[in-house]
């Protein structure tokens, strides 16, 4: 390549880039909008269990619901058809998907011995056994059967019960029956914590 050809090449290059810079080059218009992420996602209705308001939720999961696919929740938003919240959610509710998929989520019973700082995994059977045993011991020791007037009251004041807030009416009814039958007075749900 001699000097003259080099100049010609430079001039041609400059002219081409000038033309494209002036917007004379056609370009295909590509989509700018992110694809709607709920296309074909499975929608499941449920109630938020984190306070006593009980907002309606729409939970979206991946997978066709076919037997070989594991459903994974990837988005949760308010249920506009729910009379309580009509689609709205509080910040806790709006971020629920991170609760569901949290790596810190409790998935099995764990036991920490008094004075220890180590949690050890135990089986459900062991957990139920231990809870039942301790409750029974406490109730046997502290149940107040009669008040000062001699009336039968069957109060068990030394233990309280924290129940689920994600229950239907029937579940609440049974929980109430169970707790009152034991003589428990202090009953609350995790909705108020």
């Amino acid at each position: 390549m001699n000097r003259r050809q080099f100049f010609k090449l430079c001039a041609a290059g400059a002219a081409t880039s000038a033309i494209s810079a002036l917007g004379l080059m056609s370009e295909k218009a590509y989509a700018a909008v992110r694809e709607f992420k709920l296309i074909s996602a499975k929608e499941t209705r449920n109630n938020c269990c984190y306070c006593s308001v009980g907002c309606g939720l729409l939970m979206y999961s991946k997978g066709s619901n076919g037997k070989n696919a594991e459903q994974t929740i990837f988005h949760i938003e308010g249920d506009a058809d729910h009379p309580v919240n009509r689609g709205a959610l509080c910040p806790k509710g709006a971020g629920l998907v991170d609760y569901v998929n949290s790596p810190n989520r409790l998935k099995y019973p764990e036991y920490r011995a008094p004075g220890s700082n180590e949690w050890t995994r135990i089986s459900w059977d062991d957990a139920f056994q231990r809870i039942a045993r301790l409750l029974k011991n406490d109730r046997d020791a502290n149940l107040i059967e009669k008040n000062s007037a001699g009336t039968t009251v069957n109060r068990w004041l030394s233990t309280g019960m924290m129940t689920s807030s994600a229950m239907p009416n029937e579940g609440g009814y049974i929980t109430q029956k169970f707790a009152r039958a034991l003589g428990l007075v202090a009953i609350d749900t995790i909705a108020r914590n």
């Binding site: 989509a31 992110r34 938003e77």
Partner: protein
């Protein structure tokens, strides 16, 4: 998927306008009623949830506001402005997100073709694939909204959930708002509603209540109802936002002049070639060098 008509593209000259054939898309608007907001941050959380953004958990900075500013991972931020009035503390909450200006400074400043677009419904959107991360949008925005994410050096901001709007849903933040401080609808409906609401506020003892819809940027698709429209700065909103003069000068004057200069130079060169032609040096002039072929010929002749 061209789900929303584009009416304006960055870095594109008027000679090749974006497709404007269809006009079915209605102008939309998001309305933030600061007088109804209780600062719960549901909008901020649902924005991060829908758009798959997770800003790192920051440290306490002396305010309930967290993070302290918008970022590539935080497109909607609840700002907590503390106001002392007759020795009593009061918060003024600002739903801080893109204002979606009718005449966007970011789009004007952006030189990358189609990296910033304006949809027919009024939404201003960034196309991250095309963004080159120059940061012109961030410096041009009078509301200080676009932010460059250090992870990929691209600009990000609120899209008004354009992916939701495309399928007929409201933005995520609006859906989650529990107090009804955020509303969404056609621009006309939002203006109608805000007119009623401002009148109501004036009756209730807020004589300075008004709608923040700044004219300097051609109005915004994210409007705000404020307690005191004379002091938008108390909500950290500019009093009279404008497209910066430097951006207007560069895009409307320097760039066209530069293009004109380029064309004029080429034209003069052509004209010179036609009228004057090549610079020919005569044999008897000093510095004459015979062309190579002639020299060769001569050598052959000599032999």
């Amino acid at each position: 998927m061209a789900s929303q008509d584009i009416i304006r593209r960055s870095g594109t000259s008027g000679m090749t306008p974006a497709a404007k054939g269809r006009n079915s898309s209605e102008q939309v608007a998001k309305l933030f009623d600061a007088t109804k907001c209780n600062g719960c941050k549901a909008c901020q959380v649902s924005c991060s949830e829908w758009n798959d953004l997770r800003e790192e958990v920051g440290t306490f900075q002396g305010s309930y506001q967290n993070p302290m500013s918008l970022s590539g991972q935080c497109w909607t931020l609840m700002e907590f402005h503390e106001v002392m009035e007759s020795n009593k503390l009061r918060w003024q909450f600002t739903h801080s997100a893109c204002m979606h200006c009718a005449d966007p400074a970011c789009l004007k400043a952006c030189s990358t073709s189609g990296a910033i677009i304006q949809h027919a419904n009024g939404v201003v959107d960034f196309d991250s694939d095309k963004c080159i991360g120059c940061g012109y949008c961030a410096s041009a925005c009078p509301f200080d909204v676009p932010k460059i994410d250090p992870k990929d050096n691209k600009a990000y901001k609120c899209t008004m959930c354009s992916d939701r709007l495309a399928v007929g849903l409201e933005p995520s933040c609006v859906k989650s708002c529990t107090t009804g401080a955020l509303r969404f609808g056609s621009r006309e409906d939002m203006l109608f509603y805000s007119e009623k609401r401002v009148a109501e506020l004036k009756e209730k003892g807020f004589p300075k209540a008004g709608l923040y819809n700044p004219e300097g940027v051609g109005g915004t698709a994210m409007m705000m109802i404020l307690h005191d429209i004379t002091q938008p700065d108390s909500y950290n909103m500019p009093v009279d936002p404008q497209i910066p003069l430097s951006v207007t000068l560069w895009q409307d004057w320097v760039k066209p002049l530069g293009a004109a200069g380029l064309i004029a130079t080429a034209a003069v060169a052509c004209l010179h070639k036609i009228t004057v032609g090549r610079n020919i040096v005569e044999e008897d002039q000093p510095g004459y060098q015979p062309p190579e072929e002639e020299v060769k010929d001569k050598e052959e002749d000599d032999q």
